[in-house]
Every structure is written in C-alpha cells, then in structure tokens.
Amino acid sequence: MARSLRAHLLRLLLPPIAALLAVGAVVAYYPSMEPATEAYDQALVDIGIALGAHVRVSETEGSAGYRFELPTAVEQVLRTDRYDTIYYRVLSPGGRDIAGESDLPPPGGTGPGPYDATFKGQKVHVVSVSSPCGPATCTVLVAETTVKRSRLMREIMLSSLLPQMLLAVATLVIVWFGVKRGLGPLESLSEEIKGRSPRDLRPIDAGAAPEETRPLLAALNGLLEQVAEASRNQQRFLANAAHQLRTPLAGLQAHTELALAQPLSEAVRAQLDHVHQATIRTARLANQLLALARAEPGARGDPAHVNLRSVVEAEADAWVHQALARDVDLGFELEGAPVEGDAFLLREALANLVHNAIEYSSRGGRVTVRTGARNGHAFAEVEDDGPGIPLTERNRVLERFYRMPGTTGTGSGLGLAIVREIAAGHGAGIELGEGPGAKGCRVAITFPRA
C-alpha cells in the first residue's frame, strides 16, 4: 500500500479535531472563569468594606479630618491570604491619602468594576469600594496579587481541556483501529486472492465482502472471467490444432508404411524410409509443441488430485511396447505419489522422460520408472544405464531445442524443456543425476509437500 488509507484518514481528521478542541476550550473556559473570579472579587470587596469601617472622622475647624485606626491584629487577619499578598489604599472623599500604599494605582476611566494594574512590579487585581465616612464617602482600594487567580485559571483550563483531549485521542485511536477493523474484510479478501492458485480463475465470492468493495470485486471478477475465457479459447484452439495436425500425419504415416510393405527398388525404399522417419519425427514434434503450448499457464486445466503411480500404471503398457521395440528392459518401482495438478501434463512429462531414457539406451539397456514419496514430497523419476549427461551439460539440456553435442537420437531437443516447463507449472523441481553405479542418467521430479 503506497498510500495508507489509515494515514490518509487521520490526516483528514486531525485539523478539524484540533480546531474543535480549541473552540471547545474557549467555550468551556470563559463561562466557568467568571463565577470563580467573582468570588475572589467579592472577598476583596469584603476586605474593603471591613477596612472602610476603620476610618474615623473628626469635625474640627469646619473641615473634616480623617484618621484611620486599624489595630495591627485586625490588619493581619484581613491581609492574611494563603497564596497572595493583599495591599490597600484608603482615600478621603477629597482624594487625599488616608492610609495604605499611596502608590497603588487608582482606577482609570474604565468604570466602577475591578481592574488590573501593576504594583511593585507585580500584576495585581484591584477592587474599589466606597465606604461611608461621616456625611461623605471615602474610597478603599484593595489589591491582590494574581497567584490564586492564575492557579484557578490553569485549573479550569486543565479541567475543561483534559476531557476534550482525551476525547480527541480516543477518536484518533478509534479511527486507527476502526479503519484496521473496517478494512478487515478487504484484508481477508486479499488473503483469499493471494492464496489462490494461478490456475484458479473462478470468480471471487462477493457474498461475505462489504458493500463498498463490491465494485472492486465486480471489476476483478470481470477480469478473471476474461482471462478464463481466453484460457478456454486457447484450450479449444489447441484441441483443434491437435486434431488438424495429427489426422493428416496419421494418414501420411499409414500410406508410407503401406508403400514400404510393397516390393521396392533399393533407392526408392531408402527414400521412403527417410519419409517415414521424418513423418514419425514430425508427429512427435507436433505432440511436443502441443504439450509445450498446453503447459503455458493460460492453457492448463483445473488442478486435480493425481496419483503419479496411477499415471504411470495407465501408460505402462504403451511404454513397455516402445521399450520392447528397442530391446530395452523397462521396469517399474511404484509407490503411491499423490500430487495436485493436471493429469495430462504430468503424463506428458513422464512420457518424455521415459521416451528419452529408451531413446538414449543401448540395446539390452535397463530403464526404471520410480514413483513414491521422500520426506513427504511426492516424486517421479526415470533412470537409465545409457551414456548419461555430463555435469557441464546438465543445465543446458533443459533448454528448448538444445541437443547435446554428438547426440545420435532423432529427438528435437524439446523433451526435457517440456518436462522442466510442466514441473515448474506444478511448483516441482527437476534434478539431473546419475543412474546406479554412477552410470547412465537419472531425472527426478520432486513435488512440493501436499
């Protein structure tokens, strides 16, 4: 997967989730912030009122004189706070300082509400309280550093953000695993396709597949159907080609043999003999080319259970007669060898091995066909006591049309290439070795474990 659907989905989801998180934080923060700070403000106002009660008015010389009498114990109680430092400033109705910090900034033109200011290099929050002193009104400013408020702000921020962050993380995790789970059917589908034999062109069952994958499946099944149709056409063509080629060859062979049975001059007999040999070679070549074409992936039949032993037993009669015609002793050592494959092609592969062994054996030679299983692997092998294949030639003899230098037989050089092709089509390996006593040739086809 070059572009992960999951990563793509997460990329799409992340920005909106982050934005929602931010908006959610703001929306949750302000409404909860206000009542909390109001309580702190009220506490400051209470302090202001309590302080205002300690302003004393003395009526002397027509003008009012103001005094502030605050016992130290009371001041301590009032100014005590666990986190913040509290400052105050008491102003007379005329705006003169009566007590407290005279450089505490007065309210600006912002109105009667609490305000923020800087005092002694610290951020402070200030409330202004009007307190009756005599007939007039004094002003008490109470300021407080913002440790508590900042703490509260942080706490509110955290308590509102945390659940939202958890929600966001949960969403991402759910998407991550949800996509994996959601794509599960797709994964099992791809497992099914992966596990298929290349020859299995049946349509994929759409029954269990999710709705969204139906178009993909339909397209895939369409393609499979086309390939299957092409394969059927090829098989039909091969069957027809086989018929069209073999029937005239059979006629040619029949008439050549008839002619040879008549009294003929030496020269004509020699020529007819060549025609006869050429006919037989052509027939064999036609068979081999057809077999090679049949071994192509598209032309193979459906794989079935095939026992190599039964394949050999069914052909034994024909092979024995071939061997007898060349005075070769063809023997068998057959044990059960079950494989999955195309019975026709397997028979063709074995027939080519047997034909080669008989062809390259000398008169009185010994050829043995063996089937069975070794370490759980079914195998078939043919062994002869002929001239054998030198080590240096062993790779080349498997190539199409390659014939070993000095070969005398009438072969086309296709036999082993066909065997190799058919073996490869069945996932089987070919091993070329020597016969018993390091003499002759042994070709083994070993199949994958069933």
Binding site: A239, A242, H243, Q244, L245, R246, T247, P248, L249, A250, G251, L252, Q253, A254, H255, E257, L258, A261, T279, I280, A283, N287, L290, A291, R294, E313, A316, D317, V320, H321, L324, D329, L330, G331, F332, E333, L334, A343, F344, R347, T368
Partner: protein
C-alpha cells in the same frame, strides 16, 4: 472378419482400409457417424474402428448408440476408438462409453494391426468356449488344455493365471490384477505365489514357443505367438 472404419479423413481411411484388407479382413468405410450407426444396425461387424472427431454426430455419440443397441445383439462388437485430441478425459469418457481399446493419432500401423488382432481374438474368446493361442488351446467348458493337440496338465491356479493373461495378449497385466482375478477362492495370494505359477506355466509353455514376458516391478505380458 468384417470390419467397419468410421473416419472422415479420406487419406487416413483409405490407408487403414488397405492395411486391414492386407490382413485378410473385409473392410467397409464411412466418413459419417449417422451412416455408421445405421450400418451397424442392419449388418454385423466384428470390429469398428471409430474416429472421435467426426463432423456432426461425433464418435462419442456413435459409440453411445452402438452400445444402446448392443443389448439385443448376441456377439459383442469390438470398438477401437481413434482420437487426435489429447485430453485425458476423452480417453476415460471413451472407455466409460464402452470402447474396447483406444489409440491416439498418429500411430504406427504395426501397432494398430496388433491391437485389431488382439480385439478380434478377445471377441472370439468371448463368443466361444475355446481359446486358441498358437499351439495352445483351452476348452473353457471342459476346463481342459491342449498343447500341440496333446493334453496339458494345469493346476487350477495355473489355469486361472493363464486365462487372465490370454484375455490380454500383448498387454501387460499387473500382479495385482492377476491376484484379484485368481484369488476368488477366499484366500490370500502373495505376489510371490503368482511368480511361482507363472514360472510353472513358463516351463510348460515355452518349449512350444509361447512366451510370458516379465515386466520388472509391474507384472507379466503374454506375447503374441509368432511362428
């Protein structure tokens, strides 16, 4: 013997006809399945050589009709199927439908004539109580054997093994097939026992030129008798 060749390829049909006539048979030829069916219905043939790839009615259908009509016939008509197709199913299909033998084109004429001889011999063996193989004659009713017209002593199991081999002259017969055919008396027979019977048969028959060939690791084959 009366033979019918059903083959639409004229050169091949005429070649087959001449070869089989040279063997001393009376041979008719047709290229159409329909004609073959009607010919077999009105006349008696000992053997039909039938091509599967016929135009219109194919060889399988001809074979099916032969066999459908065969139940009323007294002596079985042997059918040798020819095919140019190489599908294994064709062969199984043909044998299922009752073909007696099967050859893939192209084929060597000696092989064809050998198979024709074997089939005709089999049909005679089916037909009568007497099986003849060169100088050997078996009277299956009296269960007496003669070699060069002299009575030949055969133990019951030797007789049974010989019968199996005689039914398939020039065909290899596996030891298992012989055991199955012979062990009808409810006792176990080992492959070794079969070897013993064959060896006894050999010592009795070989002096008269009748040869039983051993196919190593497989079984035996009674060779065609040659003068």
């Amino acid at each position: 013997m009366r033979l019918l060749i059903v083959e639409d390829d004229a050169p091949l049909a005429s070649g087959l006809r001449r070869i089989l006539e040279a063997e001393g048979h009376a041979v008719d030829v047709t290229g159409r399945g329909e004609d073959a069916v009607s010919a077999a219905a009105s006349e008696r043939f000992d053997l039909v050589i039938l091509d599967i790839g016929l135009p219109q009615m194919d060889g399988f259908e001809v074979l099916r009709r032969f066999r459908a009509a065969a139940s009323s016939r007294s002596a079985p008509m042997q059918v040798l199927v020819l095919t140019a197709r190489d599908a294994v199913e064709d062969r199984v299909h043909g044998l299922d439908l009752g073909a007696d033998d099967y050859m893939v084109k192209p084929f060597a004429m000696p092989e064809l004539t050998a198979r024709v001889r074997a089939l005709l011999r089999r049909s005679q063996a089916h037909g009568g109580p007497r099986i003849v193989h060169g100088p050997l004659a078996l009277d299956t009713v009296a269960r007496r054997a003669f070699l060069r017209n002299e009575p030949l002593e055969l133990a019951a199991r030797e007789w049974a093994v010989l019968e199996v081999l005689l039914a398939k002259v020039e065909k290899i017969v596996s030891k298992e097939a012989i055991i199955q055919a012979v062990a009808g008396w409810g006792d176990d027979l080992s492959p070794n026992a079969i070897e013993v019977y064959v060896s006894r048969l050999r010592s009795k028959l070989e002096p008269a030129g009748i040869r039983i060939r051993t196919v190593r690791g497989f079984g035996y084959m009674l060779e065609e008798f040659k003068e």
